[in-house]
């Protein structure tokens, strides 16, 4: 789950990290109050959106008096921000962060994230902050340093020294950096972060370190114990995805014509791949999971068929935890309730496969049954080609 900048900064501030003074508003009417909290009428207004490149796209505005601040709030709230990352549809701005403007001398990069291969937390550092880190990694990899604090201990003196030398910090700045590094490490662990990116970590004109922008992503599996961040787990999902999640279904809408219902993320991806292999495109990714109820299967069917692009349905189940007869009953219920407007190809295998096939046979529904994955994909592709004319 991604946090907005203002939510991330609230976490940083609470952890005792140096962030600029700021106040968030959700309507232009709150501007005066925000300026009061800021303690001045000069600063920067930042549109809150899950995208990089906000500055270039007009989502960040400087102001030097109350009138300009009000104008910025008026312009930003409700605007659709289009950046190189959002695609042409852009994102709607619902909040603006007013912040005091820092006098920046240098910009550094500091991220804390998971290194899967090492099964450890990694620090990623660069003396060239403020830019797209992937671009730096590609063009000048020597300007990136990775360090792995010892698990359970966090960054020690030797690690701090190595980092400070690489970043070109003075002795006084190194002391500040050590404090920041330890606090970020602890924050990463205690709030179940997947990503804690500070870009830039700035050196101001006075030579002090300050965390100017942040990207915070939390581990979705740990949200049950991270309830105070203000984040919205559904912020970036479409309505179908949110509805699916309520039933324990993992659904991602795509642009093709073959609606897929599969169990297991690996098989769901492999089913999408094989559809592409036969020249068609999947309309969605849908993993019904291992323990979905009959009701959830019915719901999955409903969500997939609500997509107008779906010209054929492909059900591909290799039952392990999930018994095939439960899937079969869910499908039969769904078809009885909703009707069936497109061809439905069903492939069942694994736990209780005979019971599952019997349920479908007894229903008398006009389904296309498939023997295996290849047969299923081929039949679905043929059905779509026919439907398209």
């Amino acid at each position: 789950m991604k946090l907005h900048e203002y939510q991330g900064k609230a976490l940083l501030r609470k952890a005792g990290l140096p962030v600029p003074r700021s106040a968030v508003i959700f309507t232009p009417a709150e501007t005066a109050q925000a300026l009061q909290a800021l303690g001045g009428e000069k600063g920067v207004a930042k549109a809150q959106a899950f995208t990089g490149g906000r500055g270039k796209a007009g989502g960040i505005k400087l102001f030097s008096n109350a009138a300009e601040a009000a104008e910025a709030a008026q312009k930003l709230i409700g605007m659709t921000l289009v950046t190189h990352q959002t695609g042409p549809e852009g994102v709607k701005i619902e909040a603006v962060l007013f912040e005091e403007q820092s006098q920046v001398a240098r910009e550094l990069y500091f991220a804390v994230t998971l290194d899967r291969a090492k099964a450890n937390i990694v620090f990623i550092l660069s003396p060239e902050g403020g830019m797209d880190i992937e671009e730096i990694a590609e063009k000048t990899p020597e300007k990136i340093l990775k360090l792995w604090p010892a698990w359970g201990q966090g960054p020690d003196a030797a690690l701090i020294e190595q980092a400070a030398k690489f970043l070109g910090l003075s002795d006084a700045q190194t002391t500040q950096f050590a404090d920041i590094a330890r606090k970020l490490y602890n924050l990463y662990v205690t709030t179940d972060c997947a990503m804690l990116e500070i870009n830039p970590l700035a050196v101001d004109q006075g030579g002090n370190l300050i965390l100017l922008d942040c990207k915070v992503i939390l581990d979705e599996n740990a949200l049950y114990r991270q309830k105070d961040t203000g984040g919205d787990p559904d912020a970036e999902k479409d309505p179908g995805e949110i509805e699916a999640a309520k039933y324990g279904l993992s659904y991602i809408k795509l642009d093709g014509n073959i609606g897929c219902m599969v169990n297991g993320a690996g098989l769901a991806m492999a089913t999408m791949d094989i559809i592409a292999h036969y020249g068609e495109q999947p309309a969605n990714f849908l993993d019904v999971g291992g323990s979905a109820s009959e009701e959830a299967v019915t719901k999955a069917f409903e969500i997939i068929t609500a997509d107008k692009n779906v010209k054929t349905l492909l059900v591909n189940i290799f039952g392990g935890i999930m018994p095939c007869d439960r899937i079969a009953r869910g499908i039969v219920n769904a078809v009885n309730n909703l009707g069936l407007k497109v061809p439905l190809v069903v492939r069942l295998e694994g736990t209780n496969v005979e019971e599952g096939k019997a349920v479908i046979a007894a229903s008398g529904l006009n389904l296309i049954s498939a023997d295996d994955l290849e047969d299923a994909a081929r039949k679905a592709a043929q059905a779509v080609a026919k439907a398209k004319g």
Partner: protein, 292 residues
């Protein structure tokens, strides 16, 4: 021979009184696994469908001589269940539970360093030595005793590979689902090494998916050390980008992590790479024919 589990495996189930825990304990017993009991705190001393229930793993091990456990404990408590099993001296720990926080698994990973316990999973289907012993949720009847070792991150793709090798008459020694979580126990590489040393295993199927660099590490090892024929598949070539990984994650993995890069690493290592999941079995046959 096979690997990891055999007729001497004595299994307990942590979370045996839950619906899934009991159902799959029964299925494992039906398959021939010695399921010697289970653990559910506060339900010790009772029995459920003939399985003795204990309060702790230590009590269960002392009473039953268990040397393996499968874990169905809910995600918030699963990490502690793994550590409890390790502390009680259970050699093989198979964690089926999905949705365990990464931070919990980091804690488990580091706590198990330097200790003899083997962890498989979490978020995995388990491990099956064909016709002998099954731990986990894989459907038993699709397996057939034979000569192929299978290792996969995805559960249902494990079944797919098992089923195909059965239909083609190759059969399996052992099939291992290592799980799809970013921090997990046995890796592809660990299991490939075991299959390479197992005299009964004549060919290896390696199945991966996008993200991480586990498959690349296994491919590099295979290139250098494995003489047995290997077939491989990577799921997710058509998956949309950026649904899971943040920017720094992409950097940690360098250029690795895409289906293309993984397939290229496999091909480079002499692995027969299946274009679709439907031809994993056929690629294994081809790989075996080519080595003769």
């Amino acid at each position: 021979m096979a690997i990891l589990i055999d007729k001497n495996t004595r299994l307990i189930t942590q979370g045996i009184t839950g619906k899934a825990g009991l159902f799959h304990s029964q299925k494992c017993r039906d398959y021939g696994t010695h399921v010697v009991g289970g653990v559910t705190p506060k339900k010790g001393g009772t029995t459920v469908d003939g399985f003795a229930v204990f309060n702790t793993v230590r009590e269960a091990r002392e009473a039953t001589g268990a040397n393996a456990t499968m874990i169905f404990v809910p995600a918030p408590f699963a990490a502690d269940a793994i550590l409890e099993a390790a502390d009680a001296g259970i050699e093989l720990i198979v964690a089926i539970t999905e949705g365990i926080p990464v931070m919990d698994m980091l804690r488990v990973h580091h706590a198990l360093q330097g200790r003899p316990n083997i962890l498989i999973g979490p978020n995995c289907p388990g491990v099956t030595t064909a016709d002998v012993c099954k731990i986990g949720i894989a459907p038993g009847p699709i397996h057939k005793k034979g000569k192929i070792g299978i290792v996969s991150r995805s559960g249902t793709l494990t079944y797919e590979a098992v089923h195909q090798t059965t239909l083609l008459g190759l059969g399996q020694t052992t099939a291992v689902g290592i799980g799809g979580d970013p921090v997990h126990g046995l890796s592809h590489l660990d299991v490939v090494k075991m299959f390479n040393e197992d005299p009964e295993t004549e060919g290896i199927v390696l199945i991966g998916e996008i993200g991480g660099s586990d498959e690349e590490a296994a491919a590099a090892y295979i290139k250098e050390f494995v003489k047995k024929p290997v077939a491989g598949f990577i799921a997710g070539a058509s998956a949309p980008k950026g649904k899971r990984m943040g920017h720094a994650g992409a950097i940690v993995d360098g250029n690795a992590g895409t289906a293309q890069s993984k397939k290229a690493a496999m091909a480079e290592a002499g692995i027969f790479v299946a274009e679709t999941a439907a031809e994993i079995g056929r690629k294994m046959v081809e790989a075996m024919a080519a080595r003769r």
